[in-house]
């Protein structure tokens, strides 16, 4: 009779164990859902266009703008200029977009009302993460005899942690427009060149495929189409 009872209890334990295993597998599979939420985004759907502007600025007061023939490449704290075919295509698209809004492109020496900077941001961040052994596992490994309070004066064995490095890249286009028409007047104490200009418009283009030459028109049109205030004649 006892054997039968033991056998039944064992069967119940096995069934419960199976259920627990099934629950853990199902739970793990489900919690992975969020991690995969954006895995199937197409390059075009991954693109994000972010714009912002100075609410006090009257874009109708400006008539001209200047735009350099090269883009500013900003990599972390370093900046340099570049003018590859793709970048020139992007500059052309930005210029055409502003001309389409009624502004006239002039050179820097012709006292433009607006200054336009096209910046290609290539920031990279490196981090480190560690997964140390837990003290519980360490004690188990050595039968619990070599941990704290084991008669070795509180000696605790040192186990090297596992370190892993990760690197995050942040690559995007940034278009900034500054107000040159109303730039601060310089003084002896603070010359005009050392005074910051007011950024009246800022746009970021992020996502996959944004550095392809053939995507320049589409991405630049996207930022201008969500900026209806940006026009010479209001």
């Amino acid at each position: 009779m006892n054997n039968v009872m033991n056998s039944l209890t064992q069967t119940k334990r096995i069934r419960f164990g199976n259920m627990l295993a099934l629950m853990l597998v199902a739970g793990t599979a489900l919690t992975a859902c969020k991690d995969n939420a954006i895995n199937n985004l197409s390059p075009q759907d991954s693109q994000v266009f972010i714009t912002n502007y100075d609410r006090t600025a009257n874009f109708g007061q400006y008539r001209t703008f200047s735009l350099p023939d090269s883009v500013l490449v900003q990599a972390n704290n370093q900046a340099l200029t570049s003018a590859t075919a793709t970048e020139q295509q992007f500059l052309t698209s930005v210029a055409n977009g502003l001309i389409g809004r009624g502004y006239t492109r002039v050179t820097g020496s012709q006292k433009p009302d607006l200054g336009v900077a096209v910046i290609r941001v290539n920031d990279t961040y490196t981090g480190v993460t560690s997964t140390p052994y837990s003290s519980y596992l360490s004690n188990s490994w050595y039968g619990g005899g070599y941990g704290y309070g084991s008669g070795y004066g509180g000696y605790s064995p040192y186990y090297p942690s596992y370190y892993s490095f990760y690197q995050v890249s942040d690559n995007y286009w940034n278009v900034q427009i500054v107000d040159l028409k109303n730039k601060p007047v310089g003084t002896t104490a603070a010359p005009a060149d050392s005074t910051q200009l007011n950024v009246v418009y800022d746009a970021e283009i992020r996502g996959e495929g944004i550095f392809d030459a053939n995507s320049a028109d589409q991405t630049v049109n996207a930022i201008f189409s969500q900026s209806p205030y940006l026009k010479a004649i209001q």
Partner: protein
């Protein structure tokens, strides 16, 4: 005469004992026993949540543990994992001062942690056990909105309650392993979500186990 009275008394005592179960009563009805359930669930958004995610979610798990008291009541704990997701075609959103044009992927992950009280309409050892249940407590809610690949959102532990009705079926009396179906209304207080409280109906089916 004394012998007749003694036999009659013994007979009455035995009949009375047998009627209330006595020594032949099931252990399920004599002691506090335990029950565990794991369900797969479909989640249907209700109320304001339909303005955020209006699709039925197929990725939900319900876990329950109960202390079954002799009689028809139980107290227990309920948890699990619920996940809903919806992709919204490109449109322009206002985030702070910024205008953001993006394809938005909305995700809502919920891990409930609630205490339950259930009333069963049949005894603990019955083959068929319909019940009503009320659950209250909280839920960890992660509301992440992806703009393209950029994530924004909130998370935190919020108050929640969840009345439910269900049915456990074990095939025969005293059996440990059975099946269970449950319908649960769930409401979670989300004041800053933009769509009000999270409301949903979970229809679930799965396995249940009862034992000592």
């Amino acid at each position: 005469m004394k012998k007749i009275l003694f036999v009659a008394l013994m007979g009455l005592t035995t009949i009375a004992h047998a009627q209330d179960g006595g020594i032949f009563e099931s252990e399920f009805n004599r002691y506090v026993t335990y029950s565990f359930s794991a369900h797969y669930a479909l989640s249907m958004p209700l109320g304001g949540q339909r303005n955020y995610i209006n699709q039925i979610s197929p990725a939900n798990l319900v876990l329950q543990g109960e202390a079954m008291f002799p009689g028809q009541f139980s107290l227990g704990f309920k948890s699990g994992y619920q996940y809903a997701q919806q992709r919204v075609p490109r449109q322009v959103y206002t985030v702070g001062d910024q205008s953001v044009s993006a394809v938005q992927t909305r995700t809502l992950s919920i891990i409930p942690a609630m205490l339950t009280a259930s009333f069963y309409f049949t005894p603990n050892n019955a083959a068929l056990r319909p019940y009503v249940q009320i659950a209250g407590g909280g839920a960890y809610v992660d509301d992440t909105r992806y703009y393209g690949a950029l994530a924004d959102g909130t998370n935190g532990f919020k108050g929640a309650f969840a009345p439910a009705i269900g049915l456990k079926y074990y095939g025969k009396k005293e059996k440990g392993l059975g099946g269970e179906i449950q319908a649960q209304y769930q409401q979670i207080g989300l004041s800053n979500s933009g769509f009000g409280n999270s409301q949903s109906l979970l229809i679930s089916a799965g396995l249940t186990f009862r034992g000592f």
